[in-house]
């Protein structure tokens, strides 16, 4: 027979292992569901299929493309090769303007139309999101 102490320790280790496995499983599952991928308009164009999953799209706001009405803002995100139309109703950050970098989060309706639920605010006039910079440099 094992002593009480050994039993206790054994029980304890099993418990820790079980909880570890459980949390790893939960975390991985949640990661899979909640990861938001970043795409440029060109990448969107060559997507194999348009999934109903939240993504981010980054690029420049095309010049003269912003149209504002009482409940919506429409604009075009471009990476100078491909474009995508965005419609958005929500808070517009102050640094959002034509000819500047932008990151929009939301759902693709099809390859050229995007419904944004959030426009990411950045706090510096010289700032360009690194993703956008990389996407622009690639092209």
């Amino acid at each position: 027979m094992y002593g009480r102490k050994v039993k206790f320790r054994f029980f304890f280790i099993i418990l820790i292992l079980l909880s570890l496995i459980l949390s790893v499983f939960l975390v991985l599952k949640s990661l899979e569901e909640n990861v938001i991928f970043f795409k440029s308009p060109s990448e969107v164009k060559f997507l194999e299929e348009v999934k109903n999953k939240k993504i981010r799209i980054g690029g420049m706001v095309k010049l003269d493309s912003i149209e504002m009405s009482s409940d919506e803002v429409n604009f075009i995100i471009t990476d100078f090769k491909n474009e995508i139309n965005v419609s958005y109703s929500g808070v517009v950050p102050n640094l959002f303007s034509e000819g500047k970098g932008v990151v929009a989060e939301g759902y693709l309706k099809d390859r050229i139309f995007f419904e944004a639920s959030k426009i990411l605010a950045k706090h510096d006039e010289n700032y360009m999101p690194p993703e956008v910079k990389a996407a622009l440099e690639e092209n």
Binding site: K5, F8, R9, F12, S19, S23, L26, V27, S30, L31, E33, N34, V35, I36, F37, F38, K54, R56, I66, M68, S69, S70, D71, E72, V73, S89, G90, V91, V92, P93, N94, L95, F96, S97, E98, A121, K122, H123, D124, E125, Y127, P129, P130, E131, A134
Partner: protein
């Protein structure tokens, strides 16, 4: 110019004092029984030199000395004096100098406060702390000197990012750093104690004051940052699971775990290895937080410069520290068999271990959510981000058992315990669920989980409230902190469940008719201020017959040329009403967002209560 020179040379002198401290410490370590007074004197000298250097930088900012590169990059003559001063630590170089200052300050205080302790332990702690201090000196002098000289001297500076020009944010970094750097003392001292096999009851009592001190400051620092984000960034939330917020939450979680664990060490002298690991983890997380934020890997308002060299330096330094601590842990630490795990399943020890398990789980979730995107980008160059749902899904369900354990755990005794008055525990739980059911009965979405969640929070709330009036309860500080925590969770839940908002685009003179609110944009006026032009909106919000006038602002700063929005917030006892106004270039429309946020005030108050609990505990120790 003169100040920069003084600052620069006192830094160099300060670094050379380190060698004196090393020399006299090593000599003193073997020979004498009592601590050489020279070590204290040299530590004071080093502190003094760093203070001089720091004040030299402050003066350069006050006098707008643009021959100094740091001042040029971050200040402007038209900036109000208060923000000139706070600009000192509002940038990369200055904030590092502040780190160094606090590092020196704390080790000096440590030396004075630890008179009754083992001499060898004090000296070793000083030595380990000196390794960190030297690292920061070298970092400052080599790649991020705050005293670089520019010629020809520019006429005018580039200015401080306007959203950082704010009273809460002026004191946020120093407070947060007191918390971060406080953990450096815990780190140095735990290494010293491990080497000398001094991890004991006496040590636990002594180090607990440091744990409490840094915990209080870290809590307040996070609170300030959160309040600032609430009113300045204009999103109306208090926590965004932004990576830069997460890196301050992680050391907080580790430190909170350590604080509970050290109780076990103090009362029962067990769980030694765990305490050592936690102390090392806490400081490592503080350092990695600094690394992630400063290196530009995470982009945010905190990222001052994208300089790979700096990131590389902190990373190397971090690895050296981790290596040293692992070496010390594995070489010197031998786990003792005698008293390990001698407690029954129903005891305070078990309840603290359960607390530790939950805290470590929360910590891992936050860590993975923060680091995984960076990791993935490095190995596959795929760019992803992880949003709030990830954290909510993983953390919120676990809050339910966490809250219930938190309500029951503190009433257990050490070693072996019985649950007294089981009936009243069950009755209270039923009452809590009932209250929560009554409050939420009109809720349609996620009714079940919300009811249980609010119920568990109410349970903790009622239990801790009852404890305030219980005669047997002696631990008022713990009681208060746990009460504060229940209040925090309740406020957050109600805030989430009952918040309302409306977003609309309006021109001046237009009206918005919604189901619940009416918003009238009556006027826009222009005001000239010291370093910005302010456009004040006059908005009239009608809600259930009650009229409120709001004046949100748009500020156009002169240098740097940035537009910011200032929210107008009407804070009352139960709810906050929050309105922001944004603009688009060449558009007549203004983007208006109106939010009703219940219990906002109570989120801040409850965090204050939590840290007040810590302060009472610290204060009680001082008296004893």
């Amino acid at each position: 110019m003169l100040y920069s020179l003084i600052g620069h040379y006192s830094l160099i002198l300060g670094l050379s004092v380190s060698s004196l401290i090393f020399f006299s410490s090593i000599k003193n370590f073997r020979n004498n029984e009592i601590l050489d007074i020279k070590i204290i004197n040299f530590s004071f000298l080093q502190l003094f030199l760093v203070i001089i250097s720091f004040f030299a930088l402050v003066l350069s900012f006050i006098y707008s000395d643009f021959s100094n590169e740091t001042v040029f990059n971050n200040s402007h003559t038209t900036k109000p004096l208060f923000y000139k001063i706070s600009g000192t630590w509002g940038n990369h170089e200055g904030s590092l100098l502040l780190w160094l200052l606090v590092l020196n300050l704390f080790i000096f205080v440590f030396l004075i406060k630890s008179k009754n302790l083992l001499k060898k332990y004090r000296i070793l702690t000083v030595l380990f702390q000196q390794i960190i201090i030297i690292g920061f000196f070298v970092f400052l002098l080599s790649s991020s000197s705050p005293f670089n000289y520019i010629f020809p001297i520019p006429e005018e500076g580039l200015g401080l990012n306007p959203i950082l020009q704010d009273p809460a944010l002026a004191i946020h970094p120093p407070i947060l750093y007191l918390g971060y750097v406080g953990s450096s003392i815990i780190f140095s001292s735990v290494l010293a104690a491990t080497v000398l096999k001094y991890v004991s009851k006496t040590w636990a009592i002594h180090i607990k004051s440091w744990v409490l001190t840094s915990w209080i400051f870290l809590t307040l620092g996070i609170l300030l940052g959160s309040i600032w984000a609430y009113y300045e960034l204009g999103w109306g939330g208090f926590w965004f699971w932004d990576p830069v917020e997460n890196v301050s939450l992680m050391p907080w979680l580790a430190l909170t775990t350590l604080m509970h664990c050290i109780l076990v060490l103090e009362k029962r002298s067990t769980l030694k290895s765990w305490v050592i690991i936690l102390s090392i983890t806490t400081f490592t997380l503080s350092m990695s937080g600094t690394f992630l934020v400063r290196s530009g890997i995470l982009n945010s308002v905190h990222t001052f410069a994208n300089d790979p060299e700096r990131g590389l330096f902190i990373l190397t330094f971090l690895f050296i520290l981790i290596f040293i601590s692992l070496f010390v842990f594995f070489v010197f630490h031998k786990s003792e068999k005698q008293d390990s795990m001698l407690f029954s399943l129903l005891s305070k020890e078990t309840s603290i271990l359960i607390n530790n398990w939950f805290m470590m789980y929360f910590l891992s979730v936050v860590l993975i959510g923060t680091v995984y995107p960076i990791f993935l980008q490095v190995i596959s160059s795929e760019q992803i981000s992880i949003g709030p749902p990830f954290y909510h899904k993983l953390i919120v369900p676990f809050l339910i058992p966490f809250l219930i354990f938190m309500a029951i755990g503190p009433r257990l005794k050490w070693i072996k315990s019985k649950l007294d008055k089981k009936m009243s525990l069950v009755v209270l739980f039923v009452i809590s669920i009932l209250i929560s059911f009554l409050i939420l009965k009109n809720l349609s979405a996620n009714f079940l989980i919300n009811t249980i969640l609010v119920g568990s929070a109410f349970y903790l709330f009622l239990m801790t409230t009852r404890d305030f009036f219980s005669k047997t309860n002696k631990n008022i500080s713990q009681n208060l902190s746990h009460f504060g925590f229940s209040l925090l969770i309740l406020s957050i839940l109600f805030n989430n469940i009952f918040s309302k908002e409306v977003i609309t685009n309006l021109k001046v003179g237009e009206k918005f008719y919604g189901e619940k609110f009416q918003i009238e944009f009556s006027d826009l006026k222009k005001f000239e201020k010291q370093n910005f032009i302010s456009f004040k909106g006059f908005l009239l919000v009608t809600e259930q017959g009650v009229k409120n006038e709001f004046n949100p602002e748009l500020r156009v700063y002169n240098q740097p040329n940035i537009i910011t929005s200032e929210a107008d917030i009407l804070t009352t006892f139960w709810t906050d009403k929050f309105i922001t106004m944004n603009t688009l270039q060449n558009e007549e429309y203004f983007n208006i967002r109106y939010q009703v946020k219940p219990f906002m005030l109570w989120i801040w108050v409850s965090v204050l209560l939590i840290s007040l609990g810590g302060s009472i505990s610290l204060f009680n120790r001082k008296i004893k």
